[in-house]
């Protein structure tokens, strides 16, 4: 019924997939201590390289490989700057972002003056599983990229939490001195991490262009790179947190696209928001049960009352598009503020170049 149906979940998953893959790569890179604020540029490089490959050889697998290569190229530049030359990572990232946009636009105008269109990835139904109710339609009737993303995320999870490499990665980002003393090659781990992030962003970019829609437009990534970075930070550098963050972003984005085309906000949206606020309040209480209510909680309670009222009254109300567009970020902020931050610690080595003699 209404807004929250199966198609909605499918849409959310499609929105989530490329952000998730790019964010997973960025997570690895940041866990190793390298933050690439130019991720948007890497995504674009992947999107364009994939498209360029498709214009030359019309093959999806090669297109994706091309996209990965494009992502790797910019990531390698980032790695040289951050790991070898040891420049400030934030400026390096800004440069990567500018270069990504500039180079892809420039090459697009030069190598592919006439825009071309390709068939996007087909949706494949997994036999049997796709017949399951709800889950089947949402999870097992998707395109190959989404399956691959799920596989990659699971693999990355295993690698991060179940292998020596994962330990080395965490150590490199947290305390390069300790990792170095244990014989872990800081350069090696960081290069690998940055390149993996480049490959992920490249593939995600290729999905945005050739995988999802089969075309390339300059600056077509529309800020997904920033969302991916925000997801890594918001997820407190954990894979689980990252999944939650991407889920919030994707679901709110899917909702806002829905709501825009409905004249008035349906009651169930107010009800869902009220449930969210209620959940946050209960969680805050649960953590410290005996304590006077704080101003934030009072505000929350008032908000809750208001939302419940809206859900009951269901007024004819439409909100400006910008409000919906801002919703994922506002929600993320509220969640951060409510969730407290003791658990919220960046890897101590993040953005710091490692110079051994200072050890």
């Amino acid at each position: 019924m209404g807004v929250f149906d199966i198609a909605f979940l499918v849409a959310a998953l499609t929105i989530a997939a490329p952000i998730l893959l790019a964010a997973t790569g960025e997570l690895i890179s940041q866990r190793a201590g390298v933050m690439n604020v130019g991720l948007e540029g890497v995504l674009l490089a992947g999107a364009f390289a994939g498209y360029l490959t498709m214009t030359r050889v019309d093959s999806q697998p090669l297109g994706f490989l091309g996209g990965i290569a494009g992502g790797l190229l910019l990531a390698a530049l980032m790695a040289v700057l951050a790991i070898e030359v040891k420049v400030d990572q934030i400026v390096a990232g800004i440069a990567i972002g500018v270069l990504g946009l500039g180079l892809t636009t420039f090459f697009d105008q030069h190598f592919v003056p006439e825009p071309q269109t390709f068939t996007p990835l087909p949706r494949l139904a997994v036999p049997l599983l796709s017949d399951l109710p709800v889950v089947g339609e949402v999870l097992f009737h998707q395109d190959l990229f989404i399956y691959a993303t799920i596989v990659v995320v699971v693999l990355v999870g295993l690698a991060m939490y179940r292998t020596t490499w994962g330990i080395n990665l965490a150590a490199t980002g947290e305390s390069p001195v300790a990792a170095d003393a244990a014989g872990v090659s800081i350069r090696g781990v960081r290069w690998a991490a940055v390149l993996v992030s480049g490959a992920c962003a490249g593939a995600a970019g290729a999905y945005i262009s050739i995988g999802d829609v089969g075309v390339f437009r300059e600056d077509m990534t529309g800020g997904r790179g920033y969302l991916a970075i925000a997801a890594v930070l918001f997820g407190a550098w954990r894979l689980r947190g990252l999944l939650l963050a991407v889920a919030i972003f994707a679901v709110t984005d899917a909702i806002q696209l829905r709501l825009q085309s409905i004249a008035s906000v349906p009651g169930e949206v107010w009800a869902a928001a009220a449930l969210l606020v209620l959940g946050a309040l209960v969680a805050a209480r649960h953590r410290q049960p005996r304590r006077a209510p704080k101003p934030a909680e009072l505000i929350g309670a008032v908000l809750l009352a208001g939302l419940v009222a809206l859900a009951v009254v269901r007024p004819q109300l439409s909100l400006p598009a910008s409000l919906w567009l801002a919703m994922p970020y506002v929600l993320a902020l509220v969640a951060l503020a409510a969730g407290g931050a003791a658990r919220h610690r960046a890897p101590s080595g993040l953005t710091l170049p490692y110079i051994r003699s200072e050890a």
Binding site: M220, R258, Q260
Partner: protein, 328 residues
């Protein structure tokens, strides 16, 4: 060399040679597959038709006011005619034009009041086209829900929306009209998701007021049989089988006419609006699309608007300036 280039550039506008230089500035990319691309094609057509005309430079992606002003100034310094391709450039032109009285500015799609003497504002009444498209879409729709998807929320898009709504109501008062903005002309994926969301809400006829993003709408339509798609600007029938037709805004012709006249010094200053009569606007079906009933409907509404039987409602025509329009 210190500043030697500057003097040369400064006097180029008043250059003696018989060639007439033309500059072009747009806030969007030049190959956006829509508004900018058609306008540029029109300028090119004018240049090709007359060997004396020369398109010297194109500044595109000038998305920010300051940059637009600088771009216009640089162009004005060395061109006789400067095309400012987009309504958002209205204020920038208002700032620059008085400083370059020898250059003629052709401002596209805007209708701002009180422009300088060397500015012509050229516009078309897209909302009228939208009325026809809305009526046809409403007739085609099974669910009686039609929708429009646009990039950023700008006047020409809202005009499309209001026009569609009015046209649909004429055809069937029960038809509902939805609108959605992706806030980005180039984000194809977002356009696809927006269209899918609309389709999920029951909309089965979608008008794409996106340039480069239309591809996403085609693909969403592919996913659900019976979804019709409409374009603006031109017919793209070969791009997707679901395209029913397009409310054609013949920017290329408008631009060609305007630039040719401006180069010849014949384009009047002030606002010029191209309407249904001029041929700059029309609604056309793709080959094999459209029932006879729909074609008749389209013709009837076109005629009714032209002869005043139907008057455009609120928001359909862009706000009318208080001064006289040259209506073509």
């Amino acid at each position: 060399g210190c500043g030697s280039g500057d003097e040369a550039a400064g006097t180029a506008a008043a250059g003696e040679s018989s060639t007439i230089n033309i500059g072009f500035l747009a806030p969007a990319p030049r190959n956006d597959g829509g508004f900018t691309q058609y306008a540029l094609a029109g300028v090119q057509a004018a240049v090709d038709a007359d060997p004396k005309l020369k398109l010297t430079s194109i500044v595109d992606n000038a998305s920010e006011s300051q940059e637009q002003i600088e771009g216009l100034q640089s162009l004005a310094a060395k061109n006789k005619v400067v095309v400012a391709d987009g309504a958002v450039l209205n204020k920038a032109v208002a700032v620059v034009a008085p400083k370059y009285p020898d250059t003629h500015f052709v401002l596209i799609a805007s209708d701002l009041e009180a422009l300088a003497d060397n500015v012509s504002s050229v516009t078309v009444a897209v909302g009228l086209n939208a009325m026809v498209a809305g009526a046809v879409a409403s007739n085609e729709s099974k669910s009686k829900k039609i929708g429009m998807i646009a990039g950023p929320e700008v006047p020409s898009s809202t005009a499309w929306y209001y026009g569609m709504a009015q046209g649909a109501k004429i055809e069937n008062p029960q038809t509902q009209v939805a609108q959605a903005y992706t806030n980005d002309y180039n984000d194809v994926g977002k356009a696809k998701q927006a269209a899918e969301a609309m389709i999920a809400n029951g909309v089965d006829q979608i008008l794409s007021d996106l340039d480069s993003g239309s591809e996403g709408i085609y693909q969403a339509a592919d996913g659900k049989a019976g979804t019709g798609v409409y374009n603006v600007f031109a017919l793209h029938c070969d791009e997707n089988k679901n395209i029913i037709g397009s409310g054609i805004v013949n920017w290329s012709d408008v631009l060609k006419t305007a630039v040719t006249e401006a180069a010849a010094g014949k384009l009047a200053s002030g606002a010029i609006s191209f309407g249904l009569k001029s041929g700059a606007l029309s609604f056309q079906f793709c080959p094999g699309k459209g029932t006879d009933e729909q074609k008749a409907l389209a013709e009837k509404i076109t005629k009714d608007i032209s002869d005043g039987t139907v008057t455009p409602g609120d928001g359909v025509l862009l706000p009318k300036p208080s001064y006289a329009f040259e209506q073509r």
